[in-house]
């Protein structure tokens, strides 16, 4: 399996962000110069609109330690991770979130943790970030649309928060809710989804050490388009199982309804584990396009549980994964 112990890729081998960005700056400069020479200025501008800004607030997160899971795959460039997003609250085009989430207000921000817990409470993001040591985790992230990225996330296991609120014996599932603010989210009026965006995990999935509460990527706080100020990452499931911009976490007794499942239950199951053998009704899941900054990306075989089978296969030992897709 591709999971290796930490320190297999030193961070020094990662192409520095500045290298990507300076290349980009050069290209944009060249494009601008070219456009200036062109007689038909407006046409050129229409043909090559200004690239979407790649930067979030760009605030660094201090004191991040190396986490125990670091995929050895080549990282997806920062610019790609932050300009190619599915975040329908801000629009269904991949470039919409970077464009329209720019001024999304993430401070102050509180997360209500409630339901079947002994200690329901509200947390500020700052409080949450202090719950445990922040780790860098390099995970493969596989979208249900058959593309994948590799991202150095920053966060800690969700179990730290779960233990803090002391779930009761009735807590069998955890449900997550994304913020819902029509004034700030232009996509809400036409995304066609069942808002607010909500997702759910079985308790053992939520407690699994791979499941993290994520606050940043590439050394800095999460850009808004990636789900600031906090989101979950569940690397063995399709990307939509990770909830962005979480405002509410609820512990419940029975399997909660989830947005994409209510949208189309034959296409998006509750589990939605990455599984090359179970095709989406409209496309194959056997392969994926790895977005690695090259022109067309590489088409590679999709791995069972996104390559995390050694860690998570036991959670589903007795289950028919064709039935529980």
């Amino acid at each position: 399996m591709l999971i290796k112990k930490p320190s297999e890729i030193p961070f020094s081998e990662v192409t520095p962000k500045s290298a990507y960005l300076s290349r980009r700056t050069f290209l944009v400069g060249a494009a601008t110069a070219g456009a200036a020479v062109a007689a038909a200025g407006p046409v050129a501008r229409w043909l090559a609109p200004a690239p979407v800004s790649a930067q979030g607030q760009g605030r660094k997160i201090p004191g991040v330690v190396k986490g125990p899971y670091a995929a050895t795959d080549a990282l997806t460039p920062f610019n790609d991770v932050t300009t190619y997003n599915n975040y329908y609250e801000f629009g269904t085009d991949k470039s919409d979130p970077a464009r329209y989430a720019k001024n999304f207000k993430t401070t102050p921000w509180t997360v209500a943790v409630e339901g079947e817990v002994a200690k329901p409470q509200k947390f500020s993001v700052d409080d949450l970030m202090k719950l445990a040591a922040l780790e860098e985790r390099i995970y493969r992230h596989r979208c249900v649309e058959a593309w994948s990225i590799v991202v150095p996330w920053i966060g800690f296991p969700l179990s730290n928060l779960i233990k803090r609120v002391e779930p009761t014996s009735k807590a069998k599932y955890v449900q997550f809710f994304t913020a819902l603010d029509p004034a700030q989210m232009p996509g809400l009026s036409r995304g066609g989804l069942n808002w607010p965006y909500r997702e759910g995990l079985r308790m053992d999935e939520a407690l699994h050490p791979l499941t993290i509460l994520c606050f940043g990527l590439y050394g800095e706080v999460l850009p808004n388009q990636n789900g600031a100020p906090l989101r979950t990452i569940i690397p063995w499931k399709y990307g939509f199982k990770s909830t962005k911009s979480i405002v509410r976490i609820r512990f419940v007794e029975s399997q909660p309804d989830t947005t994409w499942n209510t949208q189309s239950s034959v296409e998006y199951g509750f589990y939605s584990n990455v599984n090359p053998q179970v095709a989406h009704p409209r496309w194959s899941q056997a392969t994926e396009r790895r977005l690695d900054g090259s022109f067309v990306g590489r088409k590679i075989p999709t791995l069972m549980f996104n390559g995390y089978a050694d860690q998570v296969a036991s959670l589903y030992a007795a289950m028919d994964l064709r039935k529980f897709y």
Binding site: L47, T92, I149, A279, R282
Partner: protein, 232 residues
């Protein structure tokens, strides 16, 4: 008499000259979507997933050109500008051109000539089946688009064959509608435009039938007393 003939001749010359003059800039404008893709490709602005971007863009423009082609006839009737028909073949061929690029993007960039995966797609996935049908239906139209082929087939048969564009456009819009995950706004817009364009033809056809039938009925009424055996 001579005077009116001169005017007629002159106006026809002008309209020919006008379409001749207007064709090259429209041709270049039709190439703009491709130019935009090339430009963005050279400047690495095709998003993190260029294959998806090229696929979506060429698919979108195929549908646009199908709709533009289908709007030539209604426009030339409503505006009484028959010379517009001179642009129709060009628009139709651009629809085929972008459809071909879309198809090539799928078989080359998307599937990399993986025949098995493609057959599986066409067989198992209705949205790909619909797209495939839409493209295949355009092929005979592109092949018979030359003036020589029009002559060889004969106007009426050629016209019958080229009505396949209706089915190609319908299959194309269905393909798009089935493909999107949740936001059907754009495919629905295409469906509305297509419904108007095809609806115009249905209404025009029904009106023509009725006026023919009316004329026919009138004629047969007039002729009835005289003729012993009314035909038809």
């Amino acid at each position: 008499m001579v005077f009116s003939r001169i005017i007629k001749y002159f106006s026809r010359a002008v309209s020919t000259a006008r379409t001749r003059w207007i064709k090259p800039p429209i041709f270049l404008l039709c190439l703009a979507p491709l130019g935009s893709l090339v430009w963005k490709g050279l400047h690495r602005e095709l998003t993190a997933n260029p294959v998806e971007f090229i696929r979506n863009s060429t698919g979108f423009w195929t549908l646009v050109f199908l709709c533009v082609t289908l709007s030539v006839t209604p426009l030339r009737r409503l505006l009484r500008r028959n010379e517009l028909v001179r642009l129709r073949r060009m628009f139709g061929l651009f629809a085929f051109f972008y459809g071909f690029l879309h198809f090539i993007t799928y078989i080359w960039l998307e599937q990399f000539f993986d025949l098995r995966a493609m057959l599986e797609d066409v067989y198992l996935r209705p949205f790909i089946t619909a797209g495939f049908i839409a493209f295949v239906l355009m092929i005979p139209l592109a092949l018979t688009s030359t003036s020589g082929m029009v002559r060889r087939l004969g106007g009426r048969r050629w016209q019958m064959l080229h009505r396949l564009i209706y089915f190609s456009a319908i299959a194309g819009v269905v393909h798009y509608y089935w493909k999107v995950k949740s936001d059907v706004t754009v495919p629905v817009r295409f469906a509305v435009v297509l419904a108007i364009l095809l609806g115009y033809r249905a209404v025009a056809y029904a009106m023509k039938r009725r006026s023919e039938a009316g004329a026919g009925a009138k004629q047969s009424r007039d002729q009835a007393p005289k003729q012993v055996s009314p035909s038809r």
